[in-house]
């Protein structure tokens, strides 16, 4: 007849965070590799050529790291003062960097000594970059000027002094060698055209601009400054497309992932936010210190973050291959022959087939439930592996026992050891809103059953003491939350215009159940 229906383990998603494809993608990084530099890391730049080495500018040095090395494969140390803005040329062979003293140096990747030095700025040069033809270098300096230099002859081609404050952000166009964008502490972002020799577009960011970034299509421009990230539409003459305020401290850096053009922004508040194409935050990375610079490798292979405390943290992408090797190592069941033996037999035409009934495989606790061994089933569900890695299975068995009306029987007659197990499980999970309801019931039953004998075991007594403390704290917390909710309600009520009907948006179900649990 109908077969035994196994216990249904309810899938309850963890509250708070929604698991989306984006989060899965961005979570798929290994844990970060930490490299200590000598000072605050102001600039990280990936080489456009494989194997995508990256240049890290920190203090008076520029280090070049290989994709998986923790030691620099090359370093440029001939700076008398702090170096700034080391960035690669489009072919990855030359590197240009500014410095505190105002000199701009040009290095060959394989060399050690600067090939060229461009002198002319009177103050520190914080940003330097090659224009896309590769023969010119553009620089932005604290002397309020932007200058364009010719690489072969090492002469200054032009000097643009339209900004009224430090120039701290620079982005050359990849499509047009004569265009570049600068951002300055005078709250403006300017687009310069070398053919006309002056700015062609000016946008008001409203805060000192820390970073500018061009989309690959170069129709959109991102500027960060203050707590704001603003996206401008250049084709519409510099109209503001969107203004994002997701950080609570100055946004210092931004970069674009090469897969799907996701925008990433890093801030002094130690967070990196990932935005989707409609500029909603889809993921969040946390760092140990304020973030100054950030870069992502082509194909999102690695995410390098530089922080104020001089720590460079590099996250490498986890590949499917690694996972497979891991799982294949773990699953080594019986060999192929055992399973296939006799299964590949093809019956001939006249053979009379006798079909074997399909065997239903049940979990151990289900087998025990099937034969009404309730206490054993609870023991099975409380095994160490199950209760630590799959608490939902344990709770599902508890719920099933309660449904059958045998939870009390299953909990009765236990010794100190198994009671400790149950109490520990309660302590760990009783506040999880997914589990609190059945677990509170378990707690009640345990108290009812064993209140006469608790004092005989100090271990159990201590656990109960702890349980009581935690429960008291949780009750207080819930009460406070309710108070806050009440305050918020009055605030919202006073804000909304008086309407006849009160119709408010859905409070998350999670919250409700949490409150219920309280």
């Amino acid at each position: 007849m109908a077969s035994f229906k196994p216990t249904k383990v309810q899938f309850l998603p963890k509250l708070g965070e929604k698991v989306t494809e984006e989060t899965l993608y961005w979570k798929n990084y290994k844990s970060p590799v930490q490299i200590k530099e000598f000072g605050a890391i102001t600039k990280i730049d990936f080489s456009p050529l494989p194997p995508h080495n990256y240049a890290v500018t920190a203090s008076t040095r520029i280090h070049i790291y290989g994709p998986h090395s923790q030691e620099p494969i090359r370093s440029f140390t001939r700076f008398r003062d702090t170096a700034y803005g080391g960035s690669f040329r489009g072919d990855g062979k030359l590197l240009v960097a500014g410095s505190e003293e105002g000199l701009i140096r040009l290095f060959d990747i394989s060399g050690r000594v600067a090939l060229r030095q461009f002198a002319g700025h009177s103050k520190a040069v914080h940003v330097t970059s090659f224009l896309s033809d590769g023969f010119r270098v553009v620089s932005g300096s604290d002397d309020l000027s932007c200058r364009v230099w010719d690489v072969p002859s090492a002469v200054e081609l032009s000097s643009l002094t339209e900004h009224t404050d430090y120039v701290r952000a620079l982005a050359p166009s990849k499509l047009n060698p004569d265009l570049f964008v600068t951002g300055s502490y005078d709250h403006t972002v300017k687009v310069f055209d070398m053919r006309s020799g002056s700015s062609v577009m000016t946008m008001q960011h409203g805060h000192p601009v820390e970073c500018v970034l061009l989309y690959p299509s170069e129709a959109l421009l991102v500027s960060t400054g203050g707590r704001y990230v603003k996206v401008w539409d250049l084709l519409k003459g510099g109209q503001e497309l969107v203004s994002l305020k997701n950080h609570h401290k100055t946004v210092t850096c931004a970069c674009l992932s090469s897969v799907g053009n996701k925008l990433l922004t890093g801030s002094l508040d130690r967070h990196i936010k990932v935005y989707n194409s409609s500029y909603k935050v889809v993921h969040n990375f946390d760092c140990d210190a304020s973030i100054l610079s950030m870069a992502i490798a082509p194909d999102d292979e690695a995410l390098a973050v530089g922080m104020t405390n001089g720590v460079l943290s590099v996250r490498h992408r986890r590949h499917q291959k690694d996972k497979e090797t891991l799982t294949s190592r773990r699953r080594r069941g019986p060999s192929y022959q055992v399973f296939v033996k006799g299964k590949n037999f093809v019956p001939r035409q006249d053979d009379f087939l006798v079909s074997k009934p399909v065997k239903q495989y049940l979990r151990k606790y289900d087998k025990q439930l099937k034969s009404f061994e309730v206490s054993k089933a609870l023991d099975t569900a409380l095994q160490t592996w199950t209760r630590t890695s799959k608490p939902d299975v344990t709770v599902a068995v508890i719920i099933e026992l309660n449904r059958r009306g045998t939870l009390k029987n299953a909990l009765a007659g236990r010794n100190e050891e198994s009671l400790t197990k149950i109490l520990n499980f309660l302590l760990k999970h009783i506040f999880d809103p997914r589990f609190s309801r059945p677990l509170l019931m378990v707690g009640d039953i345990v108290l009812d059953l064993y209140q006469q004998v608790f004092h005989e075991s100090p271990v159990v007594e201590r656990l109960l003491q702890r349980l009581m403390e935690v429960l008291g704290r949780e009750a207080e917390l819930q009460q406070e939350l309710l108070q806050v909710l009440g305050i918020l309600d009055t605030l919202f009520a006073s804000l909304t215009p008086r309407k006849e009907v009160m119709a408010h948006a859905a409070p998350p179900v999670a919250q409700e159940s949490q409150l219920q649990a309280a």
Binding site: M1, A2, S3, F4, K5, P6, T7, K8, Q10, L12, K18, V19, T20, E21, E22, V282, L369, K370, E400, R403, R404, G405, R437, E500, V501, M502, A503, H504, A505, A506, P507, V509, E512, S513, Q516
Partner: protein
């Protein structure tokens, strides 16, 4: 037009398997008839109809295995030929009968349960033996009653015949009595009310071993006791076996006596090996609790009847080989009656935790959909999940269900589940489970009726209504078709009572206590409120088609209001207590069931005019809470004014006694009667689907070929007995010789058999032809007796030898005169002979 009780309440109570070569039939009582099912095809073959009250018991005739006795509360015992469904005899006892037992040894005697007093309120029953008179008449009064015992248990399974009918055992409460026929003595053995462990020892059922002196008894605490050596009153022994955790409902020995079958509320059939102590086999999860077990006389098949209106046929190898399922009757129908828009099947609560799909067209149970998906524990008093609400969307693509547990206790658990239809498996597949849809119980829910977007609205006792949409959450891209909450609304924290979408889904009406609120589902804006105190709104429904501007509401204070939504004003109202309001999806009609002064009236009206189209007073005596309009396959063209509202769809409703009733028109009834063709299977051919097709064809052919057959096919008519009375009343001197009549008369009493049927007919024809021939010859010989040669004489003598060996002239004349008299009434006798 009249009201017809649907034949769906197949209350299978007392099955018996018959062995006609291959165990082909299961008989069971059902209301006032006995139904015959085929064990192979699980199809209903025919029913034995004739009793005028509840049939209480059936027993196979031990003398003729093709016959069955049935007893009924109308005070008659009837003997049937169950293969052809023919009533053979009726014995009138005169008292309501409650059970019947027969034994091979006591031929011509049936044992019956009758009430001690004529009014059966007094719980006293007695067992009587009735000698069935051997009379040729159809209806016989059996007056020879002899009491075997008085004060017996009202439970029919507490009585059983012992080995070869030597004794009969019956139990009542804590006493087991054995009556020995030879000694004419009753021995009684009693148990204590409770033993030390507090077990309940009352007897619940009895079975006797067919070849051994052993009585098995089932008890209320689940024990089975095997009694032996009870022939000597003092030295009896018993052994106890215990597996059932609740009362044993039924016990049955297999015909050889090797095994004992037992069943109870756990729905596990247990097979105990006789004589080997504790060896047993189980067949678990059969369905509802087992009420009765019986074994076929050759021991090849067992069958169990269950509380959920089901018979399971089980092979002797302990494998289920067939299930005969009627309309599942749970304790109560908690969901509304619904129609699956795809299969047009009626959907309601079925097995616990299931929804059943029942085809009204074919009057057949289609399948059960498992909603709860949990192992059902058969235990009395356990609080289980039950499906309490269900709703289909308009295309039948989505099904929403609510299951609840803990209605009685404080902590209520409930789940809202959404099921999508899977084309491949032709069934519903679980799509979304919502665990905490509301903070309190869901009162009602409905789907929007628009074709493009499906939306579900639920209202709950927490004072909120929520709208659920598919795939609102843009972040979860991989599974776009999950459901999530779209909007939460409330109105002054009042408790909502009902909700309804308009026909085009542009409006949603939610009633909050006395106030109806109208919302726009597109913008979730409150459009208007309607209120007509006093009384809480009970039902809401929008008008359809030309009346779509109206909204009908009923209140608990006997008010039926019709609102015009264009003017937002009350169009009309009337004072009538309405228990159920149901609108026809295909027409403007609205049906209202009104319960007043202990009977229910039905009104059918159109919202645009405040007078009923059709009124039917006193539909039934109970309150009606569930009703549904079932769309017809093709609309009827009924011009009759009073039945026009039934042209598009049919109205079904469920009474509190769980009877499903419907209205049907006169033409339909005719059709119903004419289409009572059944699939009868010939034993010579294997039963395959092809055979069913071909067999039907062949039957038709047969009918065409032999028109005389058709007349014979009809069940025996009362004219048969008229013929016989005429035969008996005709003066003896005008009758043909007794030797001619006798064979005809005797053969008319024989049981019909379609295969053999032609032969006596033909024989009759032949013999009459022969007679004619001989007559002619005789006339010839009369003229030229002298001239005849010896050869002719010899031939004549050879042919007429048996009938008229030697005839004188006077005799011959007399014979001729007899032949000229009108014997046309004999034709009726011949025809009715089957």
């Amino acid at each position: 037009m009249n009201e017809v009780l649907s034949g769906m309440n197949v209350n299978l109570s007392y099955p018996a398997i018959t062995t006609e070569r291959v165990n082909r039939f299961v008989l069971c009582t059902s209301g006032d008839s006995v139904k015959v099912y085929s064990t192979r095809t699980e199809e209903w073959l025919h029913s034995l109809q004739g009793h005028t009250n509840q049939v209480t018991g059936i027993a196979l005739n031990p003398a003729n295995h093709l016959q069955v006795y049935s007893c009924s509360a109308d005070g008659t015992v009837k003997l049937w030929d169950f293969i052809d469904g023919i009533l053979i005899k009726t014995f009138i006892i005169g008292y309501p009968l409650f059970a019947i037992y027969v034994s091979e040894k006591h031929e011509g005697i049936v044992f019956l349960h009758i009430a001690m007093d004529t009014d059966s309120k007094k719980e006293g029953f007695q067992l009587v033996a009735v000698h069935l008179p051997k009379s040729a008449e159809q209806e016989v009064e059996a007056k020879e009653l002899s009491a075997v015992s008085s004060h017996i248990s009202p439970n029919p399974s507490c009585t059983a015949f012992g080995r070869e009918g030597q004794y009969i055992a019956f139990a009542r409460n804590l006493q087991l009595n054995v009556y020995f026929f030879r000694k004419q003595k009753t021995y009684s053995f009693s148990l204590k009310a409770t033993d030390k462990k507090g077990a309940k020892n009352a007897f619940t059922c009895i079975a006797c071993h067919p070849t051994d002196d052993c009585i098995a008894t089932g008890h209320e605490d689940g024990k089975i006791r095997l009694w032996r050596n009870f022939i000597h009153k003092k030295e009896y022994t018993y052994s106890t076996q215990h597996w059932h955790h609740n009362a044993v409902n039924t016990l049955c020995f297999t015909p050889e006596g090797t095994n004992l079958l037992s069943g109870g509320i756990e729905s596990v059939l247990v097979q105990w090996q006789y004589g080997t102590g504790n060896r047993k086999e189980f067949l678990p999860r059969l369905g509802g609790s087992i009420l009765h077990v019986s074994a076929s006389s050759d021991g090849q098949l067992f069958c169990t009847s269950h509380s959920d209106n089901k018979i399971t046929v089980i092979e002797s190898s302990f494998k289920v080989c067939g299930v005969i399922q009627g309309l599942v009757k749970g304790d109560a129908v908690l969901t509304d009656l619904m129609i699956d828009p795809r299969s047009k099947a009626l959907v309601l609560n079925g097995k616990p935790g299931h929804l059943q799909f029942y085809s009204l067209l074919r009057d057949k149970h289609l399948y059960n959909l498992d909603i709860v998906q949990q192992e059902y524990i058969y235990e009395a008093g356990l609080d289980q999940f039950e499906v309490v609400k269900a709703a289909f969307d308009i295309k039948g693509y989505w099904l929403a269900t609510v299951e609840e547990r803990g209605q009685k206790s404080a902590d209520l658990e409930f789940f809202l589940k959404l099921w999508s239809y899977d084309e491949r498996t032709q069934s519903f597949v679980l799509n979304t489970t919502i665990t905490a849809a509301h903070t309190d119980r869901i009162i009602s829910m409905c789907f929007s009726s628009s074709e493009e977007t499906t939306m579900l609205v639920t209202i709950a006792e927490d004072g909120q209504f929520k709208a659920w949409c598919q795939g609102v959450d843009a972040d979860t891209k991989q599974d776009q078709n999950f459901w999530s909450c779209d909007f939460v609304g409330s109105y002054h924290n009042l408790k909502p009572t009902n909700c309804s979408f308009s026909a085009d889904s542009s409006l949603l009406a939610v009633s909050f206590q006395e106030v109806i609120t109208i919302w726009s589902p597109d913008t979730w804006e409150l459009l208007t409120t309607l209120c007509q105190p006093p009384g809480v709104i009970r039902d809401l429904c929008f008008g359809r088609l030309s009346c779509s501007k109206y909204l009908i509401s009923t209140t608990t204070r006997n008010l039926l209001c019709c609102w015009n939504l264009l003017t937002c004003a009350l169009e009309w109202s009337t004072s009538v207590e309405v228990s159920k309001l149901q609108s026809d999806p295909l027409s403007e009609n609205v049906a209202a069931f009104s319960y007043q002064s202990k009977h229910t009236d039905l009104f059918v009206f159109k919202p645009n005019e405040p007078r009923p189209l059709f009124t039917h007073k006193n539909v039934c005596s109970e309150k009606i809470h569930r009703a549904v309009f079932v769309p017809r396959e093709e609309p009827l063209n009924n011009c009759d004014e009073s039945s026009q509202w039934l042209n598009r769809s049919q109205l079904y409703f469920l009474t509190q006694n769980m009877d499903l009733l419907t209205f049907s028109t006169a033409t339909e009834e005719d059709r119903m009667l004419s289409s009572s063709t059944r699939l009868v299977i010939d034993d010579s051919v294997a039963v395959t689907p092809f055979y069913l097709l071909l067999g039907k064809h062949r039957q038709q052919q047969q009918k065409l070929n032999t028109p005389s057959h058709q007349a014979a096919d009809r069940p025996q008519q009362p004219q048969g007995s008229v013929t016989i009375t005429e035969l008996l009343h005709t003066p003896a001197h005008v009758l043909p010789p007794a030797s001619v009549l006798c064979s005809m008369f005797v053969s008319s009493l024989l049981i019909s058999n379609t295969g053999v049927l032609q032969d006596p007919l033909r024989k009759e024809m032949e013999s009459s032809e022969q007679e004619m021939n001989s007559e002619k010859e005789e006339e010839d010989s009369e003229g030229e007796m002298e001239a005849c040669d010896s050869q002719q004489e010899l031939r004549v003598q050879g042919s007429v030898d048996e009938v008229t060996p030697k005839l004188s002239k006077a005799q011959e004349r007399e014979l001729k005169r007899v032949r000229k008299t009108d014997f046309s009434w004999m034709a009726g006798l011949i025809a009715s002979k089957p």
